[in-house]
């Protein structure tokens, strides 16, 4: 068993465990913390795949920004879960579980069966190459995403602002 495999197993276990915890923990804050750990582990997987730039962005954006955002979101709303009614019905949960399970089974069957040519020399991307692509082939998309961010920014402000008295 290679070192990479060991790392993969550890990181993969963390990702799955933490994401399961996100769904089953009681306290919202714990759930969000668990989510942050999952994101960290995913960043580790990126490093494992020699996509360091993406890994760093993952840590900065998800672990740094998004998690904090969620914590703010949690704190500004009903973090003590006062206004909650009853849970989803068992039937609903069971149906969801079955549906998702079938989906997962289908995908896993295909994914594990698929025969990809083994590639022991991972392709190593660099920030430079990504930059060249972004400002070359994907320039229009990149500008579009910029506009999207701007729109999201203003939209978020407008939505979250208190109504003028």
């Amino acid at each position: 068993m290679s070192a990479e495999m060991i790392f993969f197993l550890i990181l993969g276990t963390i990702v799955i465990a933490c994401s399961v915890l996100v769904l089953i923990l009681n306290k919202i804050s714990h759930r969000i913390a668990s989510m942050a750990f999952a994101f960290m582990a995913i960043a580790g997987l990126y490093f494992l795949l020699r996509a360091e730039f993406i890994g760093i962005i993952q840590i900065m954006v998800y672990v740094g920004a998004v998690s904090i955002l969620f914590i703010f979101g949690m704190m500004l709303t009903d973090h003590r879960a006062k206004g909650f009614g009853p849970e989803r019905s068992r039937v609903h949960k069971l149906l969801s579980f079955t549906g998702v399970g079938i989906l997962l089974g289908t995908i896993l069957y295909g994914v594990l069966q698929a025969d990809f040519a083994p590639n022991d020399n991972p392709y190593v991307g660099s920030a430079e190459m990504i930059g060249l692509e972004l400002y070359g082939n994907y320039l229009i998309a990149f500008i579009g995403v910029g506009v999207l961010l701007l729109a999201a920014l203003t939209g978020a402000i407008v939505l979250a602002r208190k109504e003028a008295e």
């Binding site: 989803r88 969801s96 549906g99 989906l103 069957y109 295909g110 069966q113």
Partner: protein
């Protein structure tokens, strides 16, 4: 003049248009205009008749309707038959117009009345002048319309409105038959023209069955219009119209149109023995049947109406037994004496302030001498007493029946002769003899405009028979059948004349014995069952109501329910199903995001499954 015969109907039409547009302003001038126009038409008709007697048939046509390669034409034609009819129609019409001036004087809508009357005259003249069956049918229908309008002239009376409707509907049955007949004739021969169509029939281009069918269809039209059994029911009811109308339309002219129709299409009937037999039997049955009802009826006009039906039956009988001239001769004389009888009845009714029940009359002989005398002349004429018009024509009819030799027909004809004399004299005695039983103070004559037409008609009723009697060698026959091949016309000898006279005298004598005093005979008590049957007109109306009208109405109501509950029900049911489905489907939209998501997942899985099922996992 004969080239301009088309002017004859146009004169009354012009009067009609004037009265229609300006009647309300004209009011008192309205009768004058109408009378003048009809007088003009009468003069022209007389001239045309004279010219035709000395000359030949004239015809003119214009293109009217193009059906593919075929041109249907309209126009006019002056033949022996219709020149005579022109004269009769305009003469009677003129006298009725004059008579009406007094009869309708109190009516506020006299201009409308005269409008209808002139329109009727126009239609009848148009019918007579028609050179083809289609044009005849057109005017045939217009005549029917006029009858409807005039019967229903007092539309505010329920009986009048009902009678008008009945008249129109019952004759409509006949009209439809005629329409089918002429359509079949056109399809078989390619023409509506009398000449062309009959030539095709005579040349054997049409199968025998087809000729019979066509002839019977046409005869159905005649049955309707001439009130023959079983479509006679409308005519007695039509007496709800003003009396001059009854005289003009329901006695002298329009109802005679059926006979006229059979006469103009005579070649068709000659070509089909079956049809001729049907005509003869229908006529004979109608004659006896109607005469028997007239025996007991107590309404002065209805008695005359049944008498008309009976006489028309005689004409049909004559035509059906190859008595072409006899039938038409009787038609002509009948026009005069029946118009006379009706107008005289009108005079009585007018004097009695519109009471028509003969049980409330009697003893009018001394109070209304002119009317009484002219009525007597009419009675004698219709009964067939020598030497009045009716004698000659009835004798001609009997001769035709005798020559035909069918015992049943001969019996029926003889019976009719007796019955006719009987009921007519009964009527005469009940109205004029004995003592006055009415409640109107001092009934009296109604002035010159009433009596003059009576006198003129009485003169005709006496003399009209002399156009066709042995001493002038049956002149009418020579005139009418010149150039036509309708077979030999039978002539009765002295023997037949004597028998006919005897029969009539027997009927008259019986009437004198029973009703000579003008009082009730007591027949009601002696034969109550027969009396009841006759009084209720053999329950024909009731039978029609039960067999045709009520089932039809029930069927229609059934259709309404079917329409509402089954057909529209199916539509509404579909609508309701759609609506309910929509509402149920709408309820699935519970606003729960996660339910939607779950359904989407299920959909996705189904989609994947479908693809896998078709193509396998890895394609």
């Amino acid at each position: 003049m004969i080239q301009n015969a088309w002017l004859i109907p146009l004169l009354p039409l012009a009067a009609f248009v004037i009265l229609l547009l300006g009647g309300r302003q004209l009011k008192q001038a309205a009768p004058v205009i109408a009378i003048a126009s009809v007088a003009g038409a009468f003069v022209l008709s007389s001239v045309v008749l004279m010219e035709r007697i000395g000359g030949d048939t004239f015809a003119a046509t214009v293109r009217w309707l193009t059906i593919g390669p075929v041109d249907v034409t309209m126009g006019f034609e002056v033949t022996a038959l219709n020149s005579l009819m022109l004269f009769v129609v305009t003469a009677v019409s003129l006298l009725v117009h004059i008579f009406s001036k007094r009869y309708m004087a109190e009516d506020g809508r006299i201009h409308v009345f005269y409008g209808y009357l002139t329109f009727f005259t126009f239609s009848m003249l148009g019918l007579v002048l028609a050179p083809n069956l289609l044009q005849l049918f057109i005017f045939w229908e217009l005549v029917g319309l006029c009858s409807f309008l005039l019967v229903g002239f007092w539309y505010f009376k329920k009986e009048a409105a009902d009678a008008a409707k009945k008249a129109f509907l019952v004759t409509r049955i006949g009209d439809v038959g005629l329409l089918v007949g002429l359509v079949l004739l056109f399809n078989a021969t390619g023409s509506f023209e009398y000449g062309a169509a009959f030539a095709a029939v005579e040349a054997g281009e049409v199968s025998g069955t087809m000729v019979t069918v066509i002839a019977l269809c046409i005869f159905l039209g005649a049955v309707g219009k001439s009130a023959q059994f079983p479509l006679h029911v409308w005519l007695p009811d039509a007496m709800e119209g003003p009396t001059p109308v009854s005289a003009l339309i329901h006695a002298a002219t329009m109802v005679a149109a059926g006979v006229y129709l059979v006469a103009v299409t005579y070649p068709l009937f000659l070509a089909s023995g079956t049809a001729l037999t049907v005509v003869a039997y229908t006529g004979a049955i109608t004659a006896v049947f109607a005469a028997s009802i007239a025996l007991v009826n107590t309404d002065i006009k209805r008695v005359l109406a049944y008498s008309t039906v009976s006489q028309l039956g005689l004409m049909m009988l004559a035509l059906g037994t190859a008595g072409y001239v006899a039938g038409l001769f009787h038609l002509m004389t009948h026009a005069f004496f029946k118009a006379l009888l009706f107008l005289a009845a009108g005079s009585v009714i007018l004097a009695l302030h519109h009471r028509q029940d003969i049980t409330r009359m009697g003893g009018l002989w001394h109070r209304m001498r002119t009317t009484a005398v002219t009525f007597l002349i009419g009675t004698l004429a219709i009964a067939g007493i020598f030497p009045l018009a009716g004698f000659w024509s009835k004798e001609a009819v009997l001769a035709a029946v005798w020559a035909n030799g069918d015992v049943v027909l001969i019996t029926l004809a003889a019976l009719t002769t007796v019955l006719t004399a009987f009921y007519m004299f009964r009527l005469f005695f009940r109205v004029f003899a004995g003592t006055y039983r009415g409640d109107v103070e001092a009934p009296a004559e109604n002035g010159k405009t009433v009596t003059v037409p009576l006198i003129v008609l009485a003169v005709f009723a006496v003399t009209a028979g002399f156009v066709h009697f042995p001493l002038n060698g049956y002149w009418l026959e020579g005139f009418m059948t010149a150039g036509l091949n309708y077979g030999d016309q039978a002539h009765g000898g002295l023997g037949l004349a004597a028998v006919s006279l005897l029969l009539a005298a027997a009927g008259a004598g019986l009437a004198w014995r029973l009703y000579g005093k003008g009082e009730e005979s007591g027949m009601q008590e002696k034969v109550p069952a027969v009396h009841h049957l006759l009084e209720n007109k053999y329950y024909i109306d009731e039978i029609y109501a039960a067999v045709i009208v009520r089932p039809l109405m029930t069927l229609s109501r059934l259709f309404v329910e079917v329409d509402r509950w089954i057909i529209d029900g199916a539509v509404n049911f579909t609508g309701a199903i759609t609506f309910r489905t929509g509402r149920q489907a709408g309820k699935q939209h519970n606003g729960q995001l996660q339910t939607y998501g779950l359904v989407s997942v299920a959909g996705g899985i189904a989609l994947i499954a479908a693809v896998f099922a078709v193509r396998g996992y890895f394609g």
